[in-house]
């Protein structure tokens, strides 16, 4: 299983904070997982997840679209950070 989590504006716009997905070949990289998620809700998620500045972290480390995802990873998607 993959834990997929969303934060802040991304969470709000998707109306979803956390998903559990079966790990599969189709979700074996960040890019592939994103494409799979983009198809949800008849493609409504694509607007949110195709943003250029979307950040992805695997197990709390920021990664890029080419990064491989292993089973049981926690994959997070969130907008640019604005703390401090």
């Amino acid at each position: 299983m993959l834990q997929v989590v969303f934060f802040a504006r991304v969470k709000e716009e998707l109306g979803c904070g956390r998903l559990e997905l079966q790990w599969s070949e189709g979700s074996a990289t960040v890019g592939a997982l994103k494409e799979q998620l983009c198809q949800r809700e008849n493609g409504a998620w694509r607007n949110v997840l195709s943003e250029d500045n979307l950040i992805c972290a695997i197990n709390h480390a920021v990664v890029d679209d080419a990064m491989a995802i292993a089973d049981n990873d926690e994959v997070a998607f969130f907008p640019p950070v604005t703390g401090g």
């Binding site: 920021v62 640019p80 950070v81 703390g83």
Partner: protein
């Protein structure tokens, strides 16, 4: 070396308010070399681009936020001779004038304390997964990241 112990690096994410005197006191460890403490406190401003802000909400990524700030403190401690450093960042609902963040750095001399404190704030703004939402007359608005913030972090490279 026994005479040069690892610096104390501390991160707290909390809804609770903090006491700056207590925090600064906790940086002092009775070390004979302690000569300088630089601190930064961030407050909720009410005059924002979205208008007069009545409240603010801060969201974080539990686990990753602490870990990424800890990594910034480690970097700072490798770069400057830090004796002790502490970061406290609040989350949840905050109001104008409320304290948001506190960074304190203890060192032997002021140059290291100032540089490390500013470096930590710059990286925290650019890298720590924290997000602000402003509540104002026009509604609720997620604060947009500023290009100047990632620029300020990069100038330390």
């Amino acid at each position: 070396m026994a005479t040069n112990p690892s610096p104390s690096l501390s991160v707290t994410i909390s809804q609770a308010d903090f006491d700056i005197a207590e925090l600064q006191g906790s940086l002092q460890q009775g070390n004979a070399a302690e000569g300088a403490i630089a601190t930064f406190t961030g407050y909720v401003r009410s005059d924002q681009s979205s208008g007069e802000v009545s409240a603010m909400e801060l969201e974080h990524y539990p686990g990753m936020t602490e870990k990424s700030i800890q990594a910034i403190l480690l970097q700072a401690s490798e770069r400057w001779p830090i004796l002790s450093v502490k970061v406290v960042h609040r989350v949840g609902r905050l109001f104008p004038g409320d304290q948001i963040v506190w960074v304190g750095v203890s060192s032997g001399h002021r140059a290291a304390a100032f540089s490390a404190c500013e470096f930590i704030m710059d990286y925290l703004k650019a890298e720590a997964p924290l997000w602000k939402k402003e509540h104002s007359e026009v509604g609720e608005i997620w604060v947009e990241a500023k290009a100047s913030d990632s620029g300020r972090a990069r100038r330390w490279d």
